[in-house]
């Protein structure tokens, strides 16, 4: 198999230009889907027969929770690639994705708490799923803090990659916590092998919101990665040309 395309993509200049072309369409499509999903989920989807309208929080809670976990998986994969192949862009991706993942975890926790008040009668409980999500937030904060605390770039990259890899143990715990322990949290909303346990009028807007969140994440990640590439490569001639600097 010809892997030259991967090596070409690993070049900061090529990545910067390609990411610049993808970032706009990702964000534009995310905006459209977000608008459709919000109107559909808030006003058109029927209320739940037990939870009433409070169930609509699912349209922001579930996409944020999905993304919080997927983003940490990305951190772990980028960490492994960085440690094994020492690809510069892997560290760039890891450092750029961590704050986005942390904010997604904050959204999942906060909206979950708001949903918990009318449904469970409490905004927080030391339940397995909730505690594992809180641990995920601390892992994200740890990666961010570690990256900022170590001045030497390569040492920081190695430390962040190791923490991302070690922390990935928490991902199956989050996913299976609702099966392994008796928890207040409901089981998984979507499964790859079974139909969603709700009517299409409820899960279709959720699917639209999940797609919108992933596209938004892709757009913002590319935006942050391009910024990080500029910070690291500012001495290169191609950066001066890209920023339209005269006399480059």
């Amino acid at each position: 198999m010809n892997w030259t395309w991967l090596h070409r993509l690993g070049s900061p200049a090529i990545f910067y230009r390609l990411a610049g072309r993808l970032q706009g369409p990702c964000l534009a499509l995310a905006g459209v889907l977000l608008a459709v999903g919000l109107v559909w989920g808030l006003f058109l989807a029927p209320p739940d027969y037990q939870q009433g309208d409070s169930f609509r929080i699912i349209y922001v809670h579930v996409p944020a929770a999905f993304l919080a976990q997927s983003c940490y998986l990305l951190l772990a994969v980028a960490g492994a690639i960085g440690l094994v192949w020492r690809l510069k862009l892997a560290d760039v991706a890891l450092r750029a994705a961590a704050p986005i993942g942390a904010w997604m975890t904050v959204i999942a926790l906060a909206t979950g708490s708001l949903w918990g008040i009318p449904t469970w009668g409490t905004w927080w409980i030391w339940d397995a799923r909730l505690t594992a999500m809180l641990v995920l937030l601390f892992l994200y904060l740890g990666v961010i803090a570690l990256g900022q605390a170590i001045e030497h770039r390569e040492s920081a990259a190695r430390a962040c990659a190791i923490l991302a890899l070690v922390g990935s143990v928490n991902l199956p715990i989050i996913k299976y916590s609702v099966e392994w322990w008796s928890t207040l949290h409901q089981p998984a909303t979507f499964s790859l092998v079974a139909r969603p346990p709700m009517p299409a009028a409820m899960w279709l807007p959720l699917l639209v919101m999940v797609l919108a969140f992933y596209l938004f994440f892709a757009g913002v990640l590319l935006q942050r990665m391009r910024l990080e590439v500029l910070r690291r490569e500012w001495r290169s001639r191609w950066v001066r040309l890209e920023l339209g600097e005269e006399g480059a």
Binding site: R56, I57, V60, P99, V106, W115, F216, L227, L230
Partner: protein, 58 residues
């Protein structure tokens, strides 16, 4: 839609107190992430141009 119907829609069957803050917080965070990226890029571009200008000075 009449005023009463709007109040009912916004009230979300007495769950508006939880639903609207959840959606509001989400949109504020998503908007903040996007805005932060744009502002950081503008700041970095300005800083780099100043640095290059200083380097070019004899």
């Amino acid at each position: 839609m009449s005023g009463v119907e709007w109040v009912q829609v916004l009230g979300m069957g007495r769950h508006g107190l939880y639903v609207w803050p959840a959606f509001g917080l989400t949109l504020v965070i998503l908007g903040g992430l996007l805005l932060h990226g744009w502002q950081a890029r503008r700041r970095l571009q300005r800083a780099l141009r100043q640095r290059w200008r200083r380097e070019r000075r004899p």
